[in-house]
């Protein structure tokens, strides 16, 4: 609608993040580098507390890196944010309960000052994309957790950002819903062409959904492995039994396990 739909490339170069604590400076992230081509689906996995969320937050301009360079389509995060390049989806849907489902989706558009009919049209378009067109006038507490998270995805896509940053978006859902949401996300991703940075601690989820899996080590985080997942699209449930899937998850698990 406003910008050209599609993804933005993400380039992370020698990025370090230190935090000041009572015992001195702690390295949360130590010299991380990777490149994500536009439109790719990349998962970030690693042991809990390893700083994978920190990396995602630095890309999305929620945290400044201590050193190093991050570029989104060639722009530093601050500039990219001003160009509405980031859409966020968090572990919890964080919908506002005083707005209908439709008006939750269009909340960012209120900030951007869109006209009423444009907002409505865009909101309905997105609800259709996430399969919730019949729930536009419902209140968030009237729909299920999985549906709420789909509303959050629609909200993040409302202003057509280049990068969708998802921080353990399905972590609060039950296993069955979680599986379904994964494929739902892939469908939405294929249609929108966004670049997805997907933080998770499920190896299977990461392998099943991604083009590339970034395996992060324990603190201070470095990239231990960038695994390209060699499975054709569209991904289906039976990919779980594919030898390539099994080999990829096994390899990642073996790298992850010694650190636990």
């Amino acid at each position: 609608m406003q910008s050209v739909p599609g993804g933005a490339s993400v380039s992370v170069k020698d990025v370090t993040k230190t935090f000041l604590t009572s015992t001195g400076t702690t390295f949360a992230v130590d010299s991380v580098s990777f490149d994500i081509p536009a439109g790719n689906f990349v998962s970030v996995i690693g042991p809990s507390g390893c700083g994978k969320t920190t990396v995602a937050r630095m890309i999305g301009d929620l945290l400044p890196p201590s050193s190093g360079e991050i570029l989104i389509d060639g722009d530093p995060p601050g500039v990219a944010r001003a160009r509405r390049q980031f859409g966020f989806v968090f572990q919890r849907p964080t919908l506002v309960e005083w707005r209908s489902v439709l008006r939750n989706v269009t909340l960012p558009l209120d900030v951007l000052g869109w006209g009423k009919s444009e907002k409505e049209e865009r909101g309905r378009e997105l609800l259709e994309l996430v399969g919730l067109q019949d729930f536009a006038d419902h209140r968030p507490d009237q729909i299920s957790g999985g549906m709420q998270q789909r509303v959050a995805i629609a909200r993040a896509l409302s202003y057509d950002p280049g990068v969708l940053i998802m921080d353990e978006p399905f972590g609060a859902l039950d296993m069955i819903t979680r599986d379904r949401m994964g494929f739902e996300l892939l469908r939405i991703w294929a249609k929108s062409g966004k670049t997805v940075v997907f933080v998770t601690h499920s190896i299977e989820e990461a392998v099943l959904l991604s083009d590339t899996v970034l395996l992060m080590g324990p603190r201070p985080t470095t990239v231990q492995k960038m695994a390209t997942i060699d499975l054709e699209r569209p991904r289906v449930v039976s990919h779980r039994e594919d030898p390539r899937f099994i080999a990829a998850t096994r390899e990642l698990r073996e790298m992850l396990e010694p650190n636990v």
Binding site: G60, F90, W98, L107
Partner: protein, 271 residues
Amino acid sequence: MSKTTLSGTHKTPRFMRAFTENFQAILFYIALIALWEVAYRTGMVRSFILPGPSMIAESMSNNWSSLLANTIVTGREILVGFVIGALIGFLMALGIFYSKVLRKIIYPGAVFLQTVPKVALAPLFIIWFGVGETSIVAIAALICLFPVLVNTVVGFEGVDVNLLEMMHSVSANGWQKFRMIYVPASLPSIFAGLEVGMSLAVVGAIVGEFVGARAGLGYQILMANSRLSTDEVFAAMILISALGMIFYFGVRALGRVMVGSRANNRALLES
């Protein structure tokens, strides 16, 4: 033997249902009032110590014009004091929330004020603002300021961080965050503060009138008491209670309209 019939589904009028559900309570209070009247009529208790219900009713009709005039005065004091106090409380909460310097300045003073019993300040207010409505309004405002302040700060600080990050990603400015997130998210908490503040404003106004007033229901109680017109004291008390209930439920109804049918509204109403 048990047999299901459809008769259970037919509608009973609402007031009938309210009556049957609260049957025991209603019975208890009717019995209590009846017993009270009997005690009064038989002279078991002297009327200047405890006037009977009929005597109170009689006093209310005899003194109706003065009672009504004083009700209007007290009602006005409560309402004006409440609005001023709530407004100042809300603004101070904004100061505390948005400015570190103001937080450091306001908090100690506010805590000090809260620990001082407001009744103790009433005589001072009479000296500063004189005998009359201004002083009473000031006391009512002061007493209801704190709960509004605290609840507003609590509401603002409880706003979901992720929601603010989402707003940050579209470069929302402070005013947009305030309008679209902070205020609506805090409304249940703010209204909880307003409800407490309103009931305190009633106390504040009556205390103020005890200390220094020339009109109002508190003043009328004081005067009637000195004449040992206990019946008139009771009549005034009933009107104070009526005022308090009308204002309290007014705030509550406004809260329900503004907060709507949200999930936390239920929790609020249950508390």
